[in-house]
């Protein structure tokens, strides 16, 4: 691929920072099944902010509101913003009602989940997603919000946006590193329908290859705990990405065993491994003895699909916006891995 080689050369020559957004990615007509992809946003459209999981105070979401307004969006602040029921952003009833209202409203074109934490799975079965057929909209978030990505994929066949949430927006942009601002800007690009393409330097542990497929994934722990529920995802023929935070290596290994044993690794188009950050330290007497690369490799060595490590997704500064349920092209090359959204034709 000429394009991939071109991008690779940019990365290797240092003209492009790692994982930086590549502007002007070529539009392609995609040969894959067309899923329900919400319309791109226009200036003046409304975006809701709600708390389906952990609580967020008004001051926590203020920078995001400012930013979204600067993008030309009108922000509808949900009733759960500012609510606090222990760790949750309100009671189950309050969180479900707020989210439902966001789903139901015709004028709201996207829903930004204020933050993750824990709680989405406690309300997911209470929500009626059928209005999304009439009023499709982007649901945005990651971590615990993987429950929504997975559920939407399993039920509605609806695309959604795996991306940073309100804490990722700066009060003072000058205090943010360029990589954080770039990652934030990928949300804007995704929402306004600009082409998305990401490049990360090659890991020596990668397995090379080029594939096209629908992109899905999210937080590994959430994906494991949705196993065999009605929010479980079918990973067959998908480009599947995983990330996690704060887990012990043995626990990550056990979760990869679950993925394997539940058939989720068997028929992938490709596997993308994001960051596994803040790994819980081992008992010094009994170090686990395997790295995240070893753990993944042991589970996927029997397959042939491309595997891309160190992708810019996860609980880290560089967590780019990924359109779940949308066809992508992944090139895992000698120099770089490049993920390109295939634009609907």
């Amino acid at each position: 691929m000429k394009r991939a080689q071109f991008i690779s050369s940019l990365v290797t020559t240092g003209l492009l920072s790692s994982s930086a957004l590549v502007a002007g990615a070529q539009e392609r007509k995609h040969p894959l099944r067309k899923w329900h992809i919400p319309p791109t946003l226009q200036k003046g459209d409304a975006i809701g902010i709600t708390c389906p999981s952990g609580f967020a105070m008004p001051e926590d979401v203020a920078p995001a509101i400012q930013y979204l307004q600067n993008w030309g969006l009108q922000v509808v602040t949900g009733k759960t913003v500012g609510l606090k029921d222990h760790t949750f952003g309100g009671t189950d009833e309050e969180r479900a009602a707020d989210f439902q209202e966001m789903i139901n409203r015709k004028d709201i074109k996207a829903i930004l989940c204020a933050r993750g934490g824990y709680g989405a799975v406690r309300i997911i079965d209470q929500l009626d997603f059928s209005p999304l057929k009439k009023y499709p909209k982007w649901i945005i978030g990651y971590s615990d919000i993987t429950v929504f990505h997975s559920h939407l994929h399993a039920h509605a066949g609806m695309a959604s946006l795996h991306a940073k949430m309100t804490e990722g927006f700066p009060t003072d942009p000058s205090l943010f590193e360029p990589v954080q601002l770039q990652a934030l800007d990928t949300i804007r690009r995704a929402l306004f329908g600009e082409p998305l393409q990401y490049s990360v330097p090659a890991s020596t542990r990668n397995r090379l290859g080029e594939v096209e497929g629908i992109l899905i994934g999210g937080n590994l722990k959430i994906i494991e705990t949705l196993s065999a529920t009605n929010s479980d995802i079918d990973t067959r023929n998908k480009i599947f990405f995983v990330e996690d935070v704060g887990e012990a290596l043995y626990s990550i290994d056990r979760m990869f065993c679950n993925l394997k044993r539940s058939g989720k690794l068997s028929h992938l188009k490709a596997l993308i491994v994001g960051s596994f950050s803040s790994i819980r330290p081992d008992d010094p007497q009994e170090p686990f003895g395997k790295t995240i690369y070893d753990i993944v490799w042991e589970q996927v060595k029997e397959f042939n699909y491309p595997v891309c490590f160190d992708f810019s997704v996860g609980h880290q500064k560089n967590n780019v916006a990924l359109k779940c349920g949308v066809p992508h092209r992944l090139v895992v090359g000698e120099q770089a891995s490049v993920l390109t959204q295939i634009q609907a034709g």
Binding site: T87, V121, A228, N258, G289
Partner: protein, 299 residues
């Protein structure tokens, strides 16, 4: 369900470590006691062996356990300790010889993987019971229940009433073990089918919110839909988040199962703590929960 033959004096118990590393000296008292009970003991190669976290490489642990499963001179296999590791081996084990010459497999915690797999895929009973560390504790009452179970004595376990108990009486196969592992197995070929069963659960060191999440997974995957009864054991050293979850473990469990009608009891003596009676996994039991007492007896 295959019930392995009970043991008699002179029979041999193999000790093997399919999961975490166990220093050999930690088995001394266990071996002494098994010998004093009149059993011979055969020590597997993985006992005292270490490969990082594990008691050997996957190949070594697999080979040791497989050899014990296939050894017709052994009447029971005691897993030395839990930790983590069986999920890495379970699909590579061969149970053909075990089916021909059934034997009791003993352990808990990570050994839940083996119990569940034996129940679902081999249709064989096993023993959820203390492992080697328990033999060195001052209170040996739970360890003695293992002896009785191995010798085929029918047992009745009782516990005090708990304000959250839901009364009722049910007979069904007794299955379960460590909550984290029961949840982890969901979606895999070892996942427990709980229809009509009495399910027991215990755990250690888990966050309260994560217990909530695992119970929701069980609920959403249908584990509770046709369950006969639920036994909640100990939840040892459970942790809370910086901002408290706001519920105790018992409250979390009560809330998650309140929509069902099966009997439920709390604080049953199955746990990572001293109270951990031997339970015959896969064997029918009768669970009676009344206002005044709880009893679990082999049916």
């Amino acid at each position: 369900m295959i019930t392995p033959p009970y043991l008699k004096k002179g029979d041999t118990i193999g000790i093997v470590c399919p999961s975490g590393y166990l220093p050999a000296k930690k088995t001394t008292i266990c071996i002494q006691m098994l010998t004093s009970w009149g059993f011979r003991v055969k020590i597997g190669k993985t006992v005292g062996h270490q490969h990082h976290y594990f008691s050997g490489t996957d190949e070594e642990r697999l080979a040791d356990l497989q050899q014990m499963l296939d050894d017709n001179s052994i009447q029971a296999i005691l897993c030395g300790r839990g930790g983590y590791g069986l999920s890495r081996l379970i699909d590579q084990l061969n149970f053909r010889q075990l089916k021909k010459y059934p034997k009791w497999i003993i352990g808990f915690s990570d050994i839940t993987v083996l119990h569940a797999h034996l129940y679902q895929q081999v249709k064989m009973a096993s023993l959820h019971a203390p492992m080697s560390a328990a033999f060195s504790k001052p209170d040996l009452s739970s360890v003695f229940t293992l002896k009785k179970a191995l010798l085929g004595k029918k047992q009745i376990h009782t516990c005090a009433p708990h304000p959250f108990n839901r009364t009722g009486k049910v007979t069904g196969p007794l299955i379960g073990g460590n909550l984290s592992l029961i949840a982890h197995l969901i979606g895999s070929p070892s996942a427990l089918h709980t229809k009509g069963a009495i399910l027991f659960l215990e755990d250690i060191g888990e966050y309260v919110y994560n217990i909530d999440r695992m119970l929701i997974q069980m609920k959403r995957s249908g584990v509770f839909d046709k369950l006969g009864g639920l036994i909640i054991g100990g939840f040892t050293d459970c942790k809370d988040t910086e901002i408290p979850f706001g519920l105790t473990v018992a409250e979390v469990i009560r809330n998650q199962v309140q929509e069902y009608s099966f009997p439920v009891c709390f604080d049953f003596p199955v746990s990572h703590d001293t109270a951990n009676v031997a339970l015959k996994h896969g064997i029918p039991y009768e669970l009676t929960i009344s206002k005044r007492k709880v009893s679990l007896r082999e049916a």
